[in-house]
Symmetry: C2
Subunit: 203 residues, 2 copies
DNA sequence: TCTATATGACTCGTCGGTAAGTTACCACAG
DNA sequence: CTGTGGTAACTTACCGACGAGTCATATAGA
């Protein structure tokens, strides 16, 4: 009995993977890819580092697994709303409401897709930005509709507006992370009030 | 002649410091604090790493020096606009225009103050967020005015709106970094058009 | 010759990643 | 019911690379 802690603990691989992904997603989402160390994830999960490498291969592999799990549900929800018939600002508000409801337990999931500290080169990173592109494309589609309603079809304008829109969602998720006591419903109501304040004033 | 490159090159300390700060600000602003290595800055400046440590003490000291130089002019410009009589969205647009004009040569300067990869603990970091707070405070003041015009004085609403507003500025600077051929004037005109598109549509 | 300017060659801690071995569980032969 | 071997789950102890920070030293110019 040279190593008192070695040997199986009876936790099946799939269960363990889910547990690791939960913790890794939280770490990546709150502290960013670069500032998250695999050893920290292992410690928080109560296991050792090599087990993570056994299951996910590398740090990038772990990150990618987080994206695959979180990105699937986020992108699907946005696509569901995009298939509806709301346009312009109404579509934006519906998307926001959907995101708040979907991410009520873990708002940090959103930050995974737009982590600027994640590696930007290499074949793995390409597949990692897949969901960011998928979300960005739908955002651009919605923005283009909004701009078309205002008679603006300038490609650069649409591109800039899309960046701003994604930045707004990002900011709201940021704020939510700083105010974890807020429910999804409260966030939705708040956004409605902010929108009202904007459109109520034409100084 | 054991070290062919040693000895002074005749560059006075103040000149060298300015040169180092220019390069460091660009690196910190574009790649973030964590992803920037002191060795890279030294290499781009054509000098050696110890010289940077002689002049700035540490990586955090170098970062702080960048903030002091950049933050002073940015905060001053925002304060100048705040002293004007514009309110609501008009004040926001004037602030944006001021920022574009001020940061025409280096839009990455803006990103220094909101770098999420910078250390968040320690006495040096406290002083590093000084400018972020100064800018944030003025932003909150402007937002509170806007909200008051709409009859909303909820503190949390104001807080959230301030975060969103700073996120919008951030996004625009981001977009500008991706489109370096755009002039400050073009950016200002573009923002006017985006604003028009927003207020033109009430679906 | 004295000082400001400058550098090559280190140390040290951290982090991604790996090798090799340990233990629990399970199917199955007797 | 009891070995017994195979496999899945898990760990300790390590390596190599890289980046922050330091020391001793070198040279140009007043």
């Amino acid at each position: 009995m040279a190593r008192p802690n070695a040997g199986t603990k009876g936790v099946p691989r799939l269960d363990r993977e889910v547990q690791i992904l939960d913790i890794a997603s939280e770490q990546f989402g709150t502290h960013g890819y670069a500032a998250t160390s695999v050893a920290t994830v292992a410690e928080k999960a109560g296991i050792s580092k090599p087990l993570i490498y056994n299951y996910f291969g590398s740090k990038e592999g772990l990150y990618e697994a987080c994206l695959d799990r979180g990105g699937a549900i986020v992108a699907e929800e946005i696509e569901r709303i995009a298939r509806g018939d709301a346009v312009g600002i109404e579509r934006g508000m519906q998307t926001l409401a959907g995101m708040f409801t979907l991410l009520e337990p873990q708002p940090h999931l959103w930050r995974l897709f737009f982590d600027t500290t994640a590696p930007t080169t290499g074949p793995i990173a390409d597949s990692a930005t897949l969901y960011a592109d998928r979300i960005g494309k739908l955002a651009e589609e919605g923005v283009a509709e909004l701009m078309a309603l205002a008679g603006n079809s300038d490609q650069l304008d649409i591109s800039a507006m899309t960046t701003v829109w994604l930045g707004i969602v990002d900011s709201l998720m940021d704020w939510w992370l700083d105010h974890p006591d807020q429910t999804a419903d409260q966030m939705i109501q708040r956004c409605m009030r902010l929108l009202d304040a904007l459109f109520g004033d034409h100084s």
